[in-house]
Amino acid sequence: MKIIIDNKACAGHARCNEVAPGLYELDDNGYISTAGFDVEVGQQALARRGARACPERVIHIVDEPANPPGNGLNKGQKQ
């Protein structure tokens, strides 16, 4: 599973970060700091909750087989 964020349209509600703090990191202005990342197997439900919490609906989920944990493609990485 992959998260794609249209970060230009982020309005800084920070709800994604509130609901799923370890996954959706904010920058120093309080806006989302990434354009997307791959989601580890155990974190999928959390990632979905964070995406659903976004009032602007700019967090999109792309369902695809998850990368196994520890392959260097995990949370917080810019795509």
């Binding site: 349209a9 800084g12 920070a14 904010l26 120093d28 202005n29 309080g30 659903r52 009032p55 602007e56």
Partner: protein
């Protein structure tokens, strides 16, 4: 219908079946404690976008009720402009503007960039202790009295003190600011509003001059040291930003807390639910923000646009009713029901707006609300509406409780 009257004439682009001849704010005020349940019913009786001939002293306006349409409007500031929608500079015959509120993109972002770093969730974390301490003092003063005038004793002083602290302005000026908040936002008398706007701008201008001569580490000094496009801010820009934080950050929190506490006073079982499990408080804050939204903004249409059945013409005004969006049955099942467990707080609501103007103070406001609930529920026994009093709701300007008196049983032995 009087077609001679300029303000109340129905424009030719509005078809008769979309005209609904009632004043939303007056109707909500008349509904009192039933206002939000009544507003939820509008979703059953009104077209998706309707037109009212007047709203308070304001001219006719479109009212979209669906969350979906309101999101679309808020996310399209090019078509729906925020410019010039508050009366204050005009009342004073001056030309400054409330920035970033009344500024459209792309310039909006320049002002917003000055404010964003000051109001992030991280910055708010750093304020937590101050907020707790201010709330504790206010609550400790009344906990043993068994009764309070909720607005005067808590809902007004609490955000005012936090605001003054945040701005680095003298806490001793609290009564002055409380008075100004009331008269500026809640008064429908243009003369009163003008006189008060003049006093406030006078105070802020004096503060700006002082900080210029003698910079400190307060908000005004921060702005003085900031730049836009490589130049320092003008005095008018300084004034507009300071004035905006003042009107944006005080009465909104006062009004919201009042509605929250009326709800808890009227619903002892939900009060008990939060006392039994305080970890529900953040979700309860979200659910009550949804259920009791207080802000109605407006936008001006900049080019002809069609939304559903509504043909909007350049120059038309559109009301953005956060309460209607948040009571939309397409988004929330049984929207009139206040349920702290509703999707565990993860269904987004529009209380802080959407799009570029999203409330910059939203993280601070949420923290203030959460702390107020936490401390009240630990320090004050179960409270109810005080006997012999009637809560009074007002939906003019920013919706809120005009009168709210609470009482509770105090243990003798303490």
């Amino acid at each position: 219908m009087n077609t001679d009257s300029v303000t109340n004439a129905i424009p030719s682009n509005v078809p008769a079946h979309l005209v609904q001849d009632f004043d939303l704010w007056a109707a909500l005020t008349a509904q009192g404690e039933n206002a939000y349940a009544w507003a939820a019913k509008l979703h059953e009786s009104m077209p998706p976008i309707f037109w009212v001939p007047s709203l308070g002293f304001l001219p006719g306006t479109w009212i979209p009720r669906r969350s979906k349409d309101l999101r679309r409007i808020l996310q399209d500031p090019e078509t729906f402009s925020s410019a010039g929608l508050t009366p204050y500079p005009m009342l004073l015959g001056e030309s400054w503007r409330l920035a970033p509120l009344e500024v459209d993109p792309p310039v909006h972002a320049k002002y917003r960039a000055l404010l964003n770093p000051l109001f992030t969730p991280k910055k708010v974390n750093a304020l937590e202790e101050d907020i707790r301490q201010l709330a504790t003092q206010l609550i400790d003063d009344i906990a043993q009295t068994g009764r309070c005038d909720f607005n005067e004793d808590f809902a007004k002083p609490f955000p005012t003190l936090i605001f003054l602290k945040l701005m680095g302005w003298p806490l001793a000026d609290r009564p002055l600011f409380q008075h100004w908040t009331q008269t500026l936002i809640k008064s429908s008398d243009p003369q009163v509003v003008t006189d008060n706007a003049r006093e406030i701008t006078g105070w802020i201008r004096a503060r700006i001059a002082e900080c210029r001569a003698n910079p400190g580490d307060d908000f005004t000094s921060y702005l003085l040291a900031s730049q836009i496009d490589g130049r320092p801010l003008t005095d008018d820009e300084m004034l507009g930003i300071n004035f905006l934080i003042f009107i944006g950050g005080l009465d909104t929190v006062t009004s919201t807390i009042g509605l929250f506490f009326r709800h808890l006073a009227r619903n002892p079982e939900q009060q008990a639910q939060l006392r039994a499990d305080p970890s529900l408080i953040p979700d309860a804050v979200e659910e009550m923000l949804r259920s009791y939204s207080i802000v109605n903004m407006r936008r001006t249409v900049t080019r002809d646009v069609q939304i559903g059945e509504a043909t909007m013409k350049k120059g038309d005004i559109v009301l953005i009713s956060t309460e209607l969006a948040n009571l939309d049955p397409e988004v929330f099942d049984q929207p009139e029901k206040v349920d702290f467990l509703r999707s565990a707080g993860h269904a987004p609501h529009m209380a802080f707006s959407y799009g570029v103007h999203r409330c910059v103070g939203s993280h601070l406001a949420r923290r203030e609300l959460r702390i107020a609930l936490e401390l009240w529920l630990t320090k004050v026994p179960p409270f109810r509406i005080a006997t012999g009093t009637t809560p009074r709701f007002n939906a003019f300007g920013i919706f809120g409780m005009e009168e709210l008196h609470l009482e509770w049983d105090v243990e003798e032995t303490r």
